[in-house]
């Protein structure tokens, strides 16, 4: 069975697979290619299309030493793609530095997934993704990653959401590495909306920082940052979040919740609201706690062992963070949450 067939069978529309610096697969459904969708290695895209060069490091601060080893996706105007476009990056030796650029043109609607992973020999992955949504464009971006414990991971995502556009990002990790630093920031123009959602279970002894920033630059823009994080024994988790309102009528909300399953774990939330305009409305709520004994015993009295009950409660906790997730991705994400909940008590 060809890759295209496999992709079609899985309901996908395009696939980009890169191991270390080698592009192993690059597939686009014919119907999309005919309508002008481009999926290319970034190096090729930069040399072919002069306008792409102008986008390099516009949505993210420039990082020295990062080459053009990554993917370029361009979605032409007026396309509605319900099935996911999938990106896979695998690091299997030393260090992998990836730079991706995604451009969704006016009025298009896209679901994009990324599946990043490492093997035991993958020492470090650094991924930089810039996303540009033009007027009225909508992008749902679901990241499901899985890292070996030894891999050091740095992920930065910079997003510009054009007027009336919409960006939602769900980030979760099936296996979390010992060291992870993630930083997502989105700048919203007039009447644009964004949701940055993180569902994370930090592995034992790991050190994790997941930052999320929204800049409400346009009048009437709205954004929400949502985080559900679980820390097991010895894990240290930092969740800095920030919403900055620069325009009238802008609204933002941060909801950050942490669950500590072990007394020697550490969770730190740092929600910052910054209003530079009197006509904006910003709110936040943050809570960190452990599983309540009353809840635990309620479930145990229904027949669940302590581990099963804890796992159910962890799953329920994480599940509250998936509002707004595209329906088509729900089964995959729910399966991930079940695995995470089991592992959290394992």
């Amino acid at each position: 069975m060809s890759v295209v067939d496999e992709l079609a069978r899985a309901g996908g529309t395009a696939l980009y697979l890169q191991r270390n610096y080698d592009v192993l697969r690059r597939v686009v459904a014919d119907s999309l290619r005919r309508r002008g969708l481009l999926l290319e290695p970034l190096r090729e895209a930069v040399s072919r299309h002069s306008w792409v060069r102008k986008l390099l490091w516009r949505a993210l601060p420039r990082e020295e030493g990062v080459g053009l080893h990554g993917a370029f996706l361009y979605v032409p105007p007026g396309l509605r793609i319900q099935a996911p476009l999938t990106f896979c990056f695998v690091v299997s030796e030393a260090e992998q530095l990836v730079h991706n650029i995604v451009v969704v043109d006016e009025g298009s609607e896209v679901l994009m997934t990324s599946a990043c992973a490492s093997t035991e020999r993958g020492e470090a992955h650094k991924g930089y993704t810039e996303v540009y949504l033009r007027r009225g464009a909508r992008l749902n971006y679901v990241m499901i990653h899985s890292w070996m414990r030894e891999t050091r991971v740095t992920a930065k995502t910079g997003v510009e959401v054009g007027e009336g556009g919409s960006f939602t990002q769900f980030y979760t990790c099936l296996k979390s590495p010992s060291t992870l630093t993630s930083d997502s920031r989105a700048l919203l123009e007039r009447r644009a909306t964004a949701l940055l959602s993180t569902l994370y279970v930090a592995s034992p002894g790991s050190s994790t920082t997941i930052s999320s920033t929204l800049i409400l630059a346009g009048e009437g823009s709205r954004g929400e940052v949502l985080a559900r994080a679980v820390a097991v024994r010895g894990a240290a988790l930092r969740l800095p979040t920030r919403i900055e309102a620069r325009a009238p009528g802008s609204r933002g909300h941060i909801e950050c919740r942490g669950l500590q399953l072990s007394p020697d774990s550490r969770i730190e939330t740092a929600p910052i609201l910054c209003s530079l305009h009197g006509g904006s409305q910003l709110t936040h709520e943050a809570a960190i706690g452990k599983i309540s004994e009353e809840e635990l015993y309620y479930l145990m009295s229904r027949g669940f062992t302590e581990e099963e009950a804890t796992s159910l409660l962890v799953r329920g906790f994480l599940e509250t963070g998936i509002k707004g997730l595209p329906k088509v991705m729900r089964p995959q994400v729910e399966a991930v949450l079940s695995i995470l909940a089991r592992k959290a008590v394992g």
């Binding site: 309620y298 229904r302 027949g303 509250t320």
Partner: protein
Amino acid sequence: MGPNGSGKSTLLKAIMGIPGYTVVEGEIMFEGRDMRDLKPHERARMGIAMAYQSTRPIGVTLSRLIRELCRLYGTSPADVSGLGLEELLNRELHKGFSGGESKRVELALTILQRPKLALLDEPDSGVDLESIRVVGKAINRLVERGAAVLLVTHTGIVAEYLRRVDEAHVMIDGRIVASGELPHLLREVRAKGYSGLAGGGANERS
């Protein structure tokens, strides 16, 4: 039956093995086995299930809890179709339920555990008559399927809807002060009030 604070719920929680309700004197025997050293989930898996006075506020959706219970006990959501839970399925348990909803949810979860002994804590308190009728019907079905039911109530209203009651007792201050046929006891309680029975009747037991 018994007034508020007479120890009815405490008795059920002690049977269920809820922490804080430790038995300091006497035994709890179930199918010939002393239950006192068993954890709540072990008692549940032996066939004891409890419907609490109200649903505990936990962060799990009702549909997921039902799914997990069905998996654990080999039951089906269809087993509780008569309880009208459809609109409640996607609600998280910590979001809360009205009194009537809460009673139906608790009873449904109990039924899905396929209990040999169902402990029902005040299934008729603080709810409308229609909810009590629905709950009563479900209790009758539970009994028809062979479950023993230990039901506590301070109003006795649900008794009107039960087809079969083998034993009835009045409990006051942790002691059984009267026992007998349910209709007789109900008449006594209505005529004298619980305080009138507190002095002890012919069938007093501790």
